[in-house]
Symmetry: C2
Subunit: 344 residues, 2 copies
């Protein structure tokens, strides 16, 4: 089959790889119908040193079950399914608590002998635990919306949920990328009254307004913080969703959060130290979040997608065939595209 490989920063190729087969009785093989490029794929796209052992790329996909191992009970060939961005057994203690990202048997797509999601098919470990059946056909117009259950919508939701967003709350969302926009959707779902979106790309922030942002702040740094303070009676918001992953965004988060408030970070941190010292200690700021256990949220969020009350698939503003995936990376990296959908 054909699949996406990254050989170095800026060097993405589609090549022939081995067809996926059942290795374990708990595996399934899924023919991929839709995949996409993640903002986190851009970190290696900017920085991966050249290698002769290219990375298999992609961790967001939905598709059709082609074959199941002998111990798979809940799925059968022909089922339309979505895969969360890590696989998990969904039975261990962590999974039962809703922390499937710490599953004792779990792991990442594209690592070891596990396929990536930007390809024609994938072997899915722990298929019963990992995959969630979608009650639609593979020709459904909702598929792009449903694909966001794989990562971006659940990541935004994880940010809002761990930040403690509750009805009536004030929330700042930092970052107008796809995760930030999913954060806006999620903050609204959880009842936030004021949702301030910080971002400077008007097409994206306009989409953010459609999704529920009540205010948009294009300024960054101290000016941006001052503007959020103005919008919140001088105090900042109780909840801040940090959807970027850069140190400046974390600093900005601490600037806009109200005393006693919570910053949740879901942007994969591109730094090791958090500037979080005595001043923030005096203000009782909490820093939470982390990699989203998407699997925990899929059933909860799916009804909102199915009934059309949220349309997270609007973050896809470019559609490409698999052979053109490299152009999707380029367009996202050049900020020409918000998020690229791939139809293998």
């Amino acid at each position: 089959m054909r699949a996406t490989l990254m050989y170095a920063a800026g060097d993405v190729r589609v090549e022939d790889v081995a067809d996926p087969k059942i290795h374990q009785p708990t595996d399934a093989v899924v023919r991929i119908v839709l995949s996409c490029v993640c903002g986190s794929d851009l970190w290696p796209y900017k920085s991966l040193p050249a290698t002769d052992e290219p990375r298999r790329m992609g961790h967001e996909f939905l598709g059709v079950v082609e074959e199941t191992g002998s111990q798979v009970r809940g799925l059968k060939a022909g089922d339309v399914v979505v895969a969360p961005f890590v696989y998990s057994d969904n039975t261990c203690a962590y999974c039962r608590e809703g922390l499937q990202t710490s599953c004792v048997h779990g792991g990442q797509w594209g690592v070891g002998d596990v396929d990536g999601g930007q390809g024609q098919a994938a072997r899915v470990p722990y298929a019963d635990g990992t995959l969630v059946r979608l009650p639609v056909g593979e020709d459904s117009e909702l598929l792009p919306d449903l694909l966001t259950l794989s990562d971006v919508l659940c990541t935004g939701y994880h940010a809002a949920l761990t930040a403690g967003v509750a009805p009536g709350d004030s929330v700042t969302v930092i970052g107008d990328g796809a995760v930030g926009l999913a954060g806006v959707i999620s903050a609204k779902l959880l009842g936030a009254e004021q949702i301030i979106l910080m971002g400077r790309h008007q097409v994206r922030t306009d989409l953010g307004r459609d999704f529920g942002a009540t205010d948009v702040v294009a300024d960054r740094g101290e000016e941006g913080v001052a503007r959020v303070k103005e919008l919140t009676g001088g105090e900042g918001t109780r909840r801040v969703l940090e959807c970027v992953g850069l140190k400046d965004a974390v600093v900005q988060s601490f600037g806009v959060v109200r005393d006693g408030g919570t910053v949740s970070r879901v942007g994969a941190p591109q730094f090791t130290d958090v500037p979080f010292g005595f001043d923030d200690f005096l203000r009782n700021i909490t820093l939470t979040g982390g990699v989203a256990p998407a699997r925990a949220y899929i059933e909860e969020l799916m009804p909102h997608v199915l009934d059309g009350s949220i349309r997270p698939g609007r973050v896809f503003d470019r559609t490409l065939g698999l052979e053109d995936v490299a152009d999707g990376y380029r367009a996202m990296n050049d900020r020409e595209a918000l998020k690229a959908l791939i139809r293998p």
Copy 2:
């Protein structure tokens, strides 16, 4: 009156200062019956540059109301009262939420024209909001226990509460100082089942066992982390109370916390950057805590002190007159004494 002043690291003196008087109609003047030296007083004791404008020291005290301003409603001369370690109006939005440390009118003892607590008396701003009446006489044997409501018990409680300690939980307490020991008391109050105290001073960890610690780990760093993992089936504890304030203690906290768990820090941080990067992000670790709004907890904790079910005053292992307060600083700094009680 006589009061404690710090002129430089290691240079603590008791001198004559102006007698406190009512400045504002919301003030009270309190004759101090008991005070003490805080672990946080040792930071300037180690590092304060020499100054001609010495600091007024002390922020933990209880005493007897001598005089009240014309707008003070809830207190009268003769009342025995305890003061939390910051003053606050207890009516602003932050105070009503239980975050009196962010009170819009609040402030610290010993700053500006506000007296410190290590003296014979103090003017108390916003007396109705700040002071809590104690239902005992000034000769009560419970006074040392009740004095801990001023700071150390409430600080340990803040750690346990913000860490989310709930019945049946596993908790690690890092630090066997007075705050760490108060953290043990608090974790037990909140129903923790396993309480691992990390500390290497046996007299203190023995007291920790009396307070409810189920295990003591004397090792630090990687060995200490490995030992806690052994005690918790390889996973670490769900809750960690960081009661030291040094970077190594924070690193140790992340080492012993279970995936998805919470570290609460109440040791005043002596550093600006927290090493809290991608690995902890993948584990969904939360960092919370901060300076304790002691005022929020006094009424809640007082009954446990009054009925003798907890004895937090056992952290005082040395008693000094005010004129000898410098020796209390020295003894605590040399780790001869755990916490010094001062009887002016």
